[in-house]
């Protein structure tokens, strides 16, 4: 597992990942939380449109959806805290005032930048069209000064030209610096208590502990896709199917999943937690009749 510290850690040294609930699904919104999760080997799934190119489905953007096992792991490692809810700092005249101030300041700064930008463009245009001639240099400078002065007087930066940010994550905390405390690592227990989800979690913990990366595998007829390294760089090796030890499985189901595995060139792993806390793995290999 990589463990390279980055600059963000200075800001949030408790390394608590802020989780927001949307329709009872655990979502990560802030970039530093996504990085923290990745460092712990938790991949998740991006759900939102990518800001740069929103109208495509190849690469998606924030928020990141956590698997129930990923959420549970974060909680067990005391690395998950609740982000403030939507109604926490809504309303409040103070916030509105702050927002308007920020907008005004941004507008003024952008106006200045726009003017500078125009001026340098003008300079570039005028000097490049008169390069070479020594005699014309002075005349050019004069004309340039004239034009620049005129620009100072006439230039106007319309409100509509101002660039605004449509924030991905809620910026609430920034408006109340005193409230920008570290998140408490107090994520509630939300998992269901049934043998199947227990088995899934045991298997997830064990494989993650061995350094594998796991994602969901519903499309492949299994519980998890198991990668030997970061999914950004490696293909999955296994399809993990989680079973409790006393669960009986029909032979046709075994055949179906084995066939599926061979079709997608991945090995099927039947995984069952054993009483001593470990996990027992059985791989299926399709062999011919000898």
């Amino acid at each position: 597992m990589e463990d390279s510290p980055s600059m963000d850690d200075h800001q949030d040294s408790s390394l608590v990942v802020g989780v927001g609930l949307c329709d009872s699904a655990p979502l990560l919104w802030r970039l530093q939380d996504l990085k923290t999760a990745r460092r712990l080997g938790l991949v998740g799934a991006l759900l939102g449109s990518l800001p740069r190119t929103p109208r495509q489905n190849q690469r998606l953007g924030r928020p990141l959806l956590l698997l129930p096992e990923e959420e549970q792991l974060l909680r067990d490692e005391e690395a998950a805290g609740a982000l403030p809810g939507p109604n926490q700092d809504v309303g409040g005249a103070e916030l509105r005032r702050q927002f308007e101030e920020d907008q005004q300041r941004s507008f003024e700064e952008q106006s200045v930048l726009a003017l500078e930008d125009r001026k340098s463009a003008l300079r570039r245009a005028m000097t490049s069209s008169h390069t070479g001639s020594e005699s014309g240099a002075e005349a050019v400078d004069e004309a340039l000064c004239g034009r620049l002065e005129a620009l100072d007087h006439s230039f106007s930066f319309p409100q509509s030209a101002m660039a605004v940010q449509l924030s991905t994550a809620r910026a609430g905390l920034s408006y109340c610096p005193e409230a920008r405390a570290h998140l408490q690592a107090s994520w509630p227990i939300r998992e269901q208590n049934n043998p199947r989800s227990d088995a899934r979690y045991q298997v997830f913990r064990d494989l993650r502990g061995r350094g594998f990366y796991l994602t969901s595998a519903g499309k492949f007829g299994g519980d998890f896709l198991v990668y030997p390294g970061d999914p950004l760089r490696f293909h999955a090796h296994f399809i993990a199917v989680c079973l409790t030890l006393d669960e009986s499985i029909c032979l046709l189901d075994v055949l179906a999943v084995a066939r599926l595995g061979s079709n997608v060139k991945k090995t099927v792993l039947l995984c069952s937690p054993v009483p001593d806390g470990g996990v027992c793995y059985t791989s299926l290999q399709w062999s011919g009749m000898v």
Binding site: G48, T53, Q110, A163, T168, A169, R170, R233
Partner: protein, 516 residues
């Protein structure tokens, strides 16, 4: 290019400083292409480098914030009491396929507003503060509006260019209205209109046939027409859907034949019971076939026209066999089919008729009196007409009288064990379910240019959103959804965390090799 990530001051809030906002104008709109993946991790520097590069690229893209020119943004407000978003500046291009007008104002549904926020087209305010995308997700998505899973499907399809609208079962026209080709209108005035319209030809024909039988009230006509339509479907369906239940028939006949054979065998055994006692251990004795001469009747060598009787020891019991005259048999082998001309055929028929003498008929000679002769004649008559007494004089008679004309298709239908059915059979009786319902109507992207919200036309498909965690739709659910959907295919969008798979059940007719 300059990206809005890691601004030193406002790291925790991911806010861009004005200089970054300004510079974002010249941001590229291209996404880097993903390279080839490796198969197995080794500890090489090369791999580590590539991983670092991939991760940096990933964070760079993921960290970018949406920056838009204020003039390009449509302003809107969120109204939680109505769970709706009201536009406060004129709508853009998206208005052609999204949103609706009411009370002189323009509105967007929550999922539409959230999608447009994610595209950077709309800025939604609540209490004079702009909502973040996170706010949108947390406030707009719920089981009362659209769930997160449904929104995932919505967004996925919208990003591909489809037009996606919420499905409203009550606004779907009934099959009666569809038959009349009515424009969609839900008010009572619309229903009255149909009398003034000229009805379609099929409707007239049926109405006429109905009027012939009895007088119906309008409501009764409507329900009966619906039933007729179902029947019509089933009739049309029958022609196409007659299942060749031949595999079933074959097994039935073979098993029947087997039983028949064994029945004969038992009877045979019974008959030859007394012979069994006398027979030597013929059951288990070995026969030396090389020493037993089998006459070759077919050989061209000159053989006597009589076969000597076989050894008595080879015969069972009291059986005695005399000399066998094989002359007539030998005349019949090695014959070539002679094609007679029609004149010759006629001549053959005449001579046969002249030669036939009722007195030479053996069965006739067995009759001892006229009564028996009449009985014989009657029996032969019945057999000729295909109704042998032993089949038709009992409680259980054959399924079909050979004298009655019947098409092969209908005959197959009569003897079929499994009747074919169609998906909508019985579907109207099913009550709705909480678990399975159609969420969206989906219209194809190439219709966008001519799309009219007031008259969208028939959708391309209808979506039902579910997840791999839940159950597979059973027949009941499929029937219910197909009925609700009418003639539009229902597609199941199965959500698996970041992934969506689409499944649909297609109607399939088993082929029949019978012409009706």
């Amino acid at each position: 290019q300059i990206t809005c990530n890691l601004p030193h001051k406002d790291c925790a809030s991911n806010n861009c400083v004005p200089s970054e906002l300004f510079a974002a104008r010249s941001r590229s709109h291209k996404i880097p292409v993903r390279g080839q993946k490796d198969f197995f991790p080794n500890d090489s520097d090369e791999q580590r480098q590539r991983l670092e590069q991939s991760l940096n690229e990933h964070w760079s893209l993921t960290s970018e914030e949406r920056v838009e020119r204020l003039g390009n943004l449509v302003k809107a407000v969120w109204i939680p009491s109505d769970q709706i978003v009201e536009l406060q500046s004129p709508a853009g291009k998206f208005w052609q396929t999204m949103g609706f007008s009411a009370n002189g104002k323009q509105y967007l549904l929550p999922e539409e507003a959230l999608y447009l926020m994610e595209c950077g087209n709309v800025q939604v305010f609540y209490r004079d503060l702009p909502l973040s995308i996170q706010d949108g997700y947390e406030r707009f998505l719920s089981s009362a509006t659209v769930t997160l899973q449904q929104y995932q499907v919505f967004g996925h399809l919208k990003r591909l260019g489809y037009v996606v609208h919420r499905f409203d079962p009550s606004s779907e026209p009934s099959s009666y209205a569809r038959q009349l080709n009515l424009p969609q209108s839900r008010d009572r005035a619309g229903r009255q209109l149909k009398r003034k319209r000229s009805p379609s030809p099929t409707y007239t024909k049926r109405l006429n046939s109905f009027c012939f039988f009895c007088s119906y009230t309008e409501a009764q006509v409507e329900s009966t027409i619906e039933k007729m339509e179902e029947d019509k479907c089933s009739l049309e369906g029958d022609d196409a859907k007659k299942l060749a239940a031949s595999p079933d028939i074959q097994t039935a006949t073979t098993s029947g034949a087997d039983e028949g054979r064994s029945w004969w065998m038992t009877d045979d055994l019974g008959a030859s019971d007394k012979e069994l006692h006398h027979s030597p251990t013929s059951g288990s004795s070995r026969w030396d076939f090389s020493s037993i001469p089998f006459p070759d009747v077919g050989s061209s060598e000159r053989h006597p026209s009589c076969l000597a009787p076989p050894e008595p020891s080879l015969l069972p019991g009291d059986l005695t066999v005399g000399v066998c005259d094989i002359a007539s048999w030998r005349r019949k082998i090695n014959l070539r089919m002679v094609k007679m001309s029609s004149k010759e055929q006629k001549r053959e028929k005449d001579t046969r008729r002249r030669r036939w003498d009722v007195n030479k008929d053996r069965e006739v000679r067995r009759c001892r009196n006229w009564a028996e002769y009449h009985e014989l004649l009657a029996r032969r008559q019945r057999k000729r007409k295909g109704r042998p007494a032993h089949l038709w004089n009992r409680e259980v008679t054959p399924l079909h009288d050979p004298k009655q004309p019947i098409s092969t298709g209908e005959l197959l239908d009569k003897i079929s064990v499994i009747k074919s059915t169609h998906l909508l059979e019985g579907a109207s009786r099913l009550k709705g379910s909480e678990q399975w319902r159609i969420c969206f109507n989906v219209y194809q992207p190439d219709t966008v240019a001519d799309f009219k919200k007031s008259n969208p036309g028939k959708p391309y498909s209808r979506m039902c959103v579910c997840s791999f965690d839940g159950p597979v739709p059973d027949l009941r659910a499929i029937k219910l959804l197909a009925f609700q959907s009418g003639d539009i295919p229902v597609v199941f969008a199965v959500v698996d965390h970041g992934d969506i798979s689409f499944y649909t059940f297609k109607d399939f007719q088993l082929p029949t090799d019978v012409f009706p």
